[in-house]
Symmetry: C2
Subunit: 225 residues, 2 copies
């Protein structure tokens, strides 16, 4: 009972799964889009089996709705799920950043500051997608520094709906200077071991996500449930 060799080469299922997941989260496959096993299998030039298995995976994550004998659709964004996801994220992020103020490795702190520099650039260049990635990485780095990588993974897993919502927001309005400024202040608070300030900042930061939820629903009504 020893698990020696990790699976090296990606299986066909894995490839299809990752590709579809990326397209869904990037809104290249918008909520409500109809898919079909056959269509995708032709598109990737593989059989229906691995496609079907990736559908099952994506459905389990809540990214696809499989209606037996009827069709498979990219799931609509459920605002109540988004709210609960935001709630969970808030609790966990606040707990972690407080922990980071107590003890945070130098290496990760440097990584944070490098990330911030890139954020500043992306804001200036109005590079939306890059900024989104850097935002993710910023938060992930905090979790890693606290030895909570798995927790971050769970947040990512949970917040698929929230992420699509955030993607809409980044594409819609443009207050990244604010976001960037908040990130910078959080890094400073961690460095200064200022736990209460960090907690306050994070709370405000994550509240941005929920405020314009109804606004998004007006702008993109077809994407919401």
């Amino acid at each position: 009972m020893v698990f020696v060799k990790p699976p090296q080469s990606a299986s066909t299922r894995e490839v299809v799964y990752s590709a579809l997941r990326e397209q869904i989260l990037q809104l290249e496959l918008p909520p409500g889009t109809g898919l079909s096993e056959k269509e995708i299998s032709l598109q990737f030039n593989v059989s229906r089996t691995p496609v079907r298995e990736s559908f099952v995976q994506l459905a389990q994550e809540g990214l696809l709705e499989i209606l037996p004998q009827r069709g498979t659709y990219v799931s609509l964004i459920d605002t109540s799920l988004v709210e609960e996801a935001r709630f969970m994220r808030e609790q966990l992020e606040r707990a972690v950043i407080k922990q980071a103020c107590d003890r945070f490795p130098q290496e990760q702190l440097i990584k944070l500051q490098g990330n911030l520099a890139l954020q500043k650039l992306s804001v200036e260049n109005q590079d939306y997608k890059k900024m989104f990635e850097l935002d993710e990485e910023f938060h992930r780095t905090i979790f890693e520094g606290c030895g909570k990588s798995y927790t971050w993974g769970v947040i990512q897993h949970v917040n698929v709906h929230l992420n699509r919502s955030r993607m809409l927001r980044l594409a819609a309005d443009h207050n990244w200077n604010h976001i960037y400024a908040q990130h910078e202040q959080m890094a400073t608070a961690i460095e200064a071991h200022n736990s209460s300030e960090a907690d306050r900042l994070m709370q405000n930061h994550l509240n941005l996500t929920v405020t314009d939820q109804s606004l998004l629903k007006e702008k993109f009504p077809a994407y919401f449930k």
Copy 2:
């Protein structure tokens, strides 16, 4: 783009998936057990396809390890994952029970008290599995009363490893009187809107889970990674 009819009858994949999941969480399929698509398909008298799809699902949840061309095994319990799961659960449970002290529906409060009565019975009868279920239901009811059902679902999804660990604990030692007493005090705190007391109780309550982790690893070394 309307999703009218929910899928009524369970598909073969769903049946196999649920059955295996239950067996794994109940430790009827202990960590490390080797499975095979063919074996299970014969056992359920179905083809390999739905079995295989349920394997993919269970692997995504971290309950199975699929080693290509080598075999599939019930995953071992990863103590570091257990610790992070406990961390997440603590943060979320504390946040929710504090919210429950502010505002909690009468209906759910009654449900809590009914549950407590059954817990007392189960403790007296030393009915381990029943007590485990009632414990789950107690916590779930708190989440439901706060409109956080999805959050509870996520905890359940996350804590598969933790749950197996807890199952071992319940089978091993016998301090349920303590667990029951804590539950009772929490219900009282909710009713009395005593937020700080509820928070303190929940924190202690969940700390029970982690303390004897190393002890379990000694008792059942083969089940851990």
